[in-house]
């Protein structure tokens, strides 16, 4: 297990304290800036490793940054504290976005990102629970994180704990049936502390989701499974923060976050080939310019 980065953790705690009292719109600029840094580090990391999933990383970045920097009750110095909130990145192939976010929050040192995908690195292509602090369950094959998150929320309820559970799902991932098993279980048990956040970037590895296997009407699907549905712009930090802060009532909450795959880099945006393409040096140069905070 990677050790925490005390200096980074201190900065994280200070940022959390600064953002906590702010209204979403006031907190948004700081979140936007952090997201820029996360995307830039992720880009450099993938370029160095010659491997990664930048398209999905960039569509989910604002969701992860908002959750860690302003929503989740977590402590990078004590990542296994019993009463922490839980976040599960079910779309594990976007480990790059998660690792970079965790490093910026002090869960481990940012230099560790240089080892991504290198032999013996803790930072595998998909996140491993036993190696990376902050990773609650190993993911990679799609359709795994959601049932585990349901179990986490059930545990909290059994223990009478107010802690919350967030699971971040890819939209293509929703073609896996296990998600709908989990959706039924969560609403059956009325798990209002559970948020399922769908990174709705409209693209999967091979093509658009609607060409591959239609997901729409997606909000209706969630509603019919007994969930409260919230529709947000997944790159609008104020909207994300507002929806994540608002607790669920009697039902679990599905947040359909409308996103753009490859967000922030013009030549990557909404292009299927950037699912796992690795940029050239020249492309990195151009992308870093676009991603300047």
């Amino acid at each position: 297990m990677l050790p925490a980065d005390p200096a980074g953790a201190r900065r994280f705690v200070a940022l959390r304290a600064r953002l906590a009292p702010l209204a979403p719109a006031q907190a948004a600029p700081a979140l936007r800036e952090l997201a820029s840094h996360v995307r830039r580090d992720d880009l450099k990391m993938v370029y160095r490793a010659r491997l990664g999933h930048l398209g999905g990383d960039f569509s989910v970045t604002d969701i992860l940054v908002t959750l860690y920097a302003a929503v989740l009750n977590v402590d990078p110095m004590r990542p296994l504290l019993a009463e922490r909130d839980r976040l599960v990145l079910s779309k594990g192939h976007t480990a790059g976005a998660l690792y970079t976010t965790l490093a910026h929050c002090g869960f481990f040192a940012r230099q560790e990102l240089d080892t991504f995908a290198a032999p013996q690195s803790a930072l595998n292509g998909h996140p491993s629970r036993t190696k990376v602090p902050g990773v609650e369950t190993s993911t990679g094959p799609l359709g795994h994180g959601f049932p585990v998150a349901v179990g986490m929320a059930l545990a909290a309820r059994l223990q009478g704990s107010p802690r919350r559970t967030f699971v971040v799902l890819g939209d293509g991932e929703l073609q896996e049936g296990s998600n709908w098993e989990a959706a039924m279980t969560a609403s059956h048990y009325g798990l209002s502390s559970l948020f399922a956040v769908v990174d709705r970037n409209q693209l999967q590895q091979g093509a658009r989701t609607e060409e591959t296997k239609q997901l729409e009407p997606l909000a209706d699907k969630w509603a019919s499974f007994g969930w409260e549905v919230r529709d947000v712009d997944g790159h609008d930090h104020a909207q994300l923060l507002d929806t994540f802060r608002r607790p669920g009532t009697a039902r679990p909450v599905a947040v359909i976050a409308r996103t753009v795959k490859g967000k922030g880099v013009s030549f990557m945006e909404d292009r299927v080939e950037w699912h796992h393409k690795v940029p050239t040096a020249e492309q990195v140069h151009g992308a870093l310019k676009e991603l300047s905070p």
Binding site: A82, R86, S128, R129, T130, E136, T137, S138, T139, G140, P141, G143, H144, F146, P147, V148, A149, V150, G151, M152, A153, L154, A155, A156, L158, Q159, G177, S178, E181, A182, M184, T185, H188
Partner: protein, 320 residues
């Protein structure tokens, strides 16, 4: 009712499982049961009556079942995830691999009615592949209790063991085979009879048959060493290699396919470290015909008579 070669009282491992789980739940409020509409077939009705909140039923959804179990473990609970073994291990194999084993979640996977316990229900409901599949998964102990005493020990061991485990809980009643005070530890076999002529290595429902075979052989002057290894993974390598060295050879017996379970484990071990004549008894790589459990065990040569015949064959061909 399954016949053994002698008039023996038969006991129910499922009952032992259910009673022990309830006793544990009274001692430790972290214990929860998770099932897939299998409250009855997992013998959890009494558990539900006493601990209604701690009985999570996810409905007929095995992927969800195992994932939810991993999430409960993440929350600090100790989930006993119980379902018919074929569906638990077959339908949710990737969840077992990733959510439980790779994540090292303290989940106790309880495979009910394994082997060919569901007889006439057919190959869809037989769980003969589970030992092969799960032996291939890293970080997951695979235990096959042979009688109620071992079932009790298995449940208690798994609750205390900080990582994942798979317990294969027999459906049909079996004779008691475990001497009082026997250890229950991964990688620790129990030697049930002394003998230096031939060794019989068995797990689960085959242990009592191995003992009956040894009795038949004793009448013929052949002294068989019977080992209940209990854990197919991790195997008691020292005890098996000693048997390979000290006896003419080894017969393995399991209510499972011969492709990757106990026999394959013993073969791999001995072939690499102490080659010895082997006879691997189990279900060959085939789907069972229609028939009762008793018929199928006979059909596939999983009786005391067949075990004794295999042992005799090793002794007859022994190069001394």
């Amino acid at each position: 009712m399954i016949q053994t070669t002698q008039a023996t009282t038969l006991h129910d491992c499922r009952k032992a499982f259910a009673e022990t789980l309830i006793a544990l739940a009274r001692e430790d409020d972290r214990i929860v049961a998770v099932c897939n509409d299998s409250v009855g077939s997992s013998n959890l009705t009494a558990f539900r009556a006493e601990f209604p909140d701690r009985m999570i039923n996810v409905g007929i959804a095995e992927q969800d079942l195992v994932g939810v179990g991993a999430g409960l473990a993440n929350g600090g609970l100790i989930p006993f995830v119980s379902a018919a073994a074929p569906f638990l291990t077959g339908r949710a194999l990737e969840q077992i691999k990733v959510d439980v084993a790779y994540s090292q979640a303290h989940v106790v996977l309880c495979g009910q009615s394994p082997g060919m316990a569901y007889g006439e229900l057919g190959p869809t409901h037989h769980s003969i592949e589970d030992l092969s599949w799960l032996r291939a998964v890293a970080g997951l102990p695979v235990a096959v209790p042979a009688d109620p005493a071992q079932t009790v020990a298995a449940v208690r061991w798994a609750a205390a063991h900080p990582g994942p485990s798979y317990l294969r809980i027999a459906r049909f009643p079996v004779p008691d085979v475990t001497p009082p005070g026997s250890p229950f530890q991964p990688g620790q076999a129990i030697q049930l009879t002394d003998g230096n002529d031939v060794t019989i290595v068995a797990v689960g429902t085959m242990v009592s048959r191995a003992l009956a075979a040894a009795e038949m052989l004793r009448d013929e002057g052949i002294q068989a060493r019977v080992l209940n290894v209990t854990f197919v993974e991790p195997l008691d390598t020292d005890t098996i290699l000693a048997a390979a060295a000290q006896t003419a050879g080894i017969v393995t017996a399991e209510e499972a396919t011969t492709t990757g379970g106990l026999g394959a484990a013993v073969a791999s071990l001995t072939a690499q470290h102490r080659p010895a004549p082997l006879r691997i008894l189990g279900v060959p790589r085939s789907f069972a015909p229609t028939g009762s459990t008793e018929f199928l065990l006979e059909h596939f040569g999983l009786t005391a008579g067949h075990i004794a015949a295999a042992a005799r064959d090793i002794v007859a061909h022994a190069v001394r």
